[in-house]
């Protein structure tokens, strides 16, 4: 634990135990999403699905990166991950991104993907709002993750016909915003 680092956050008026719980729940959401996206990606097949597989894979890998990036901050603040994986799964801040009943329904898969991203966008916006000007490190991390979640949402939203995302897909590397926390 970073004793002084935690003290600084407490002195800024943040309930650190609540913040840690929030970070653990979001870490659980990232890891479970990584798992569910693996299943969704496997089912994105055929003429319609194949074109979406690439972005689903990028979002999957970046969600795993978000989990990896969140963990050190949880421990720095004096928190920890639950010892029981089942407990961790049940703590998730977002609903499971389960495969739709008809796995060939690509639009239904896209809706699951976009809803998962929207839950994440709301979650990290919330953490940013909570920590802005008070906990600079958690804010920086949450903002980096938020940037990537927003891009994920826009990719899937574009495929659902909700309008252009406005940017290209990743060019080789993943996590352009979060990578600084993974070194």
């Amino acid at each position: 634990m970073g004793r002084v680092a935690r003290e600084m956050v407490e002195k800024a008026g943040i309930n650190v135990d609540q913040l840690v719980e929030l970070l653990v729940k979001n870490a659980a959401a990232e890891l479970t999403t990584y798992y569910y996206y693996t299943i969704l990606r496997c089912n994105l097949i055929g003429l319609e699905g194949e074109g979406i597989k690439e972005i689903a894979e990028t979002a999957r890998i970046e969600d795993r990166n978000h989990f990896e990036a969140l963990v050190p901050r949880i421990y720095e603040l004096g928190g920890q991950l639950p010892g029981d994986m089942k407990v961790f799964n049940d703590m998730s801040a977002c609903p499971p991104a389960s495969l739709p009943k008809d796995p060939r329904d690509v639009t239904a898969i896209l809706k699951v993907l976009v809803e998962a991203e929207r839950c994440a966008v709301r979650g990290y916006t919330y953490i940013c709002n909570l920590t802005a000007g008070k906990d600079h490190r958690t804010y920086d991390l949450s903002q980096a993750i938020l940037n990537e979640e927003i891009e994920h949402e826009s990719w899937f939203s574009e495929f659902l016909g909700e309008g252009p995302s406005g940017h290209f897909l990743r060019r080789g590397e993943t996590s352009p915003f979060v990578s600084k926390f993974l070194r």
Binding site: Q18, P95, R122, G123, Y126
Partner: protein, 87 residues
């Protein structure tokens, strides 16, 4: 429709098997079956059994999220004129 005082609403906090109700702009919503309100808590900080009108103004979502939940009553305090000013 049932009328709730704030004290009565507080009993529906989602804990120990109780339903989870939240107040918003005079209406009482049943969020018991929401994944995001498990154990009567939302985003660690917000608790069921309360009028969340003010809190929702600061939330990273609008009140459309409440549309999918059944309205189970009205808040007496709101009817009596204790309304919330927009931020």
């Amino acid at each position: 429709m049932r009328e709730f005082t704030e004290k009565e609403l507080a009993e529906y906090n989602g804990r120990n098997g109780r339903p989870a109700y939240v107040g918003y702009k005079g209406k009482v919503y049943d969020v018991s079956h929401s994944f995001l309100w498990r154990h009567g808590t939302h985003q660690v900080i917000h608790n069921a059994g309360l009028d969340l009108t003010d809190a929702l103004q600061k939330a990273p979502h609008n009140d459309e999220v409440l549309k999918k939940f059944p309205v189970v009553g009205i808040l007496v305090s709101f009817r009596k004129g204790k309304q919330h000013l927009p931020h």
